[in-house]
Symmetry: C2
Subunit: 257 residues, 2 copies
């Protein structure tokens, strides 16, 4: 595998393509629906042209990487079925879509279990790469590719990858949202969110040290109804947030039984 | 302030008293309801006796620190009202109780905004200490005491402290619970929770770098209903967890509007 075509130019593509290029791979073309995003990624790569026309995607590349929204993968893959040649490998990068979401013979999944934001660099060496493929030969090729950029490469099946994707939603998306809500509460009352930053850092350090179950503290696990009532009073003007507070509190109580 | 009596022998007391002793303070007595916990803390301190009898708490110490469950502070403080002498200072360590929860003239609050577990050491220098007191003189004394152990000392009122306490419930308690749920999901499906650890570390690094609002990723903020449905299917046997997933997803959608 040497020549790569990138179908998509979102956050993942913008982090992954430069990382692959740094390891000596040739990104030869970038496709995106909009010229602005296709061009914006292509200009950062040495040998990439760009297109916004699926029918103009070049044939015969070693590897095609679909790095687009999960919802769009199946439809776009069908539109580029003409690329099938029995030699090229086609992968998607989704944690939740099965292998058969793309209709190619030589197909695989190249899923980085990480959270990507435009303005924040990615530590690829510590990003788990979850590999699935149609054949052992393709698994081996994709594993080699993944090992160029990461020290954490795993071969997993569709079910395990979906479980890890769900776990990551709790571990990252929901966790991050709790931080967003904490910041909103501080902002609303004109209190500095900075004061919470040490406990945010310590939360993860401790959870990874002794395990999250052993790390749980606070009014919910103590059964401290008086404190819970005071918190709900502070949230009086936010009925949805009150309800969320109550649901998570119940979930903590249940998990501690 | 030199001689300190510690009323309570829980997780906070077990971390705080040795920290104060290291800075030269004399912990002269430890009270706890149970002899085992009173003794267990006292033996780790150089000059501390212990008691399980509130009426035997010694009089005339410079500082009395109530480090007991929020629910118990008011009642216990009333039971030791005989300690009032117009000179000693009395503080509680609660983030949510007001200053007047303890019925003494010279009173204050000495609240470390941190999560404490028995088996994990505390980084006191980076633990915010929130100080409230009845008079400026006591505020100054407690601030000096706090600055001995921490680089992050803040003077705050009851309302701001309660807001930060609520913020900390989201930033720590709820965040940690999301990690517990992620681990449970992995365990149930016999997938290694270790694979999620890099994204857990990155979650906090990124949220503190670019802010949690700019860090949000995942199906909820993308409006990716297909992925959300697949996650809910994986949670089919856990109706409470399904509901929690849906409520947090709605909250993320709302926050992104």
């Amino acid at each position: 595998m040497h020549n790569i075509v990138c179908i998509g130019a979102g956050k993942l593509a913008n982090h992954l393509m430069p990382a692959l290029e740094r390891e000596g791979y040739d990104i030869v073309q970038v496709y995106s629906r909009t010229e602005a995003s296709a061009k914006s990624l292509a200009v950062h790569l040495h040998n990439a042209t760009f297109t916004t026309d699926l029918s103009k995607i070049q044939q015969g590349a070693d590897l095609y990487i679909f790095s687009i929204k999960d919802d769009a993968v199946e439809q776009v893959a069908q539109q580029v079925a003409f690329l099938e040649n029995g030699k090229s490998v086609f992968v998607h990068t989704s944690g939740i879509l099965p292998l058969n979401a793309i209709p190619f013979n030589r197909r695989g999944i190249f899923y980085p279990l990480q959270t990507f934001s435009a303005s924040h660099p990615v530590d690829w060496k510590n990003t788990p790469m979850l590999i699935t493929a149609e054949t052992q030969e393709i698994t081996t090729s994709l594993t080699s590719l993944a090992e160029k950029i990461s020290n954490l490469v795993y071969q997993v099946g569709d079910k395990d990858r979906a479980v890890l994707h769900l776990g990551a939603v709790f571990a990252n998306n929901f966790t991050n949202h709790m931080l967003t809500l904490a910041e909103s509460i501080c902002n609303e009352h004109h209190v500095s969110f900075d004061i919470l930053k040490p406990i945010i850092r310590e939360t993860v350090v401790k959870a990874l040290d002794v395990g999250p179950r052993n790390s749980q503290t606070g009014p919910a696990i103590r059964g401290d109804q008086h404190t819970i009532e005071k918190h709900l009073e502070l949230l009086a003007e936010h009925p949805q947030l009150r309800e969320l507070y109550q649901k998570i509190t119940e979930s903590i109580e249940k998990a501690s039984r």
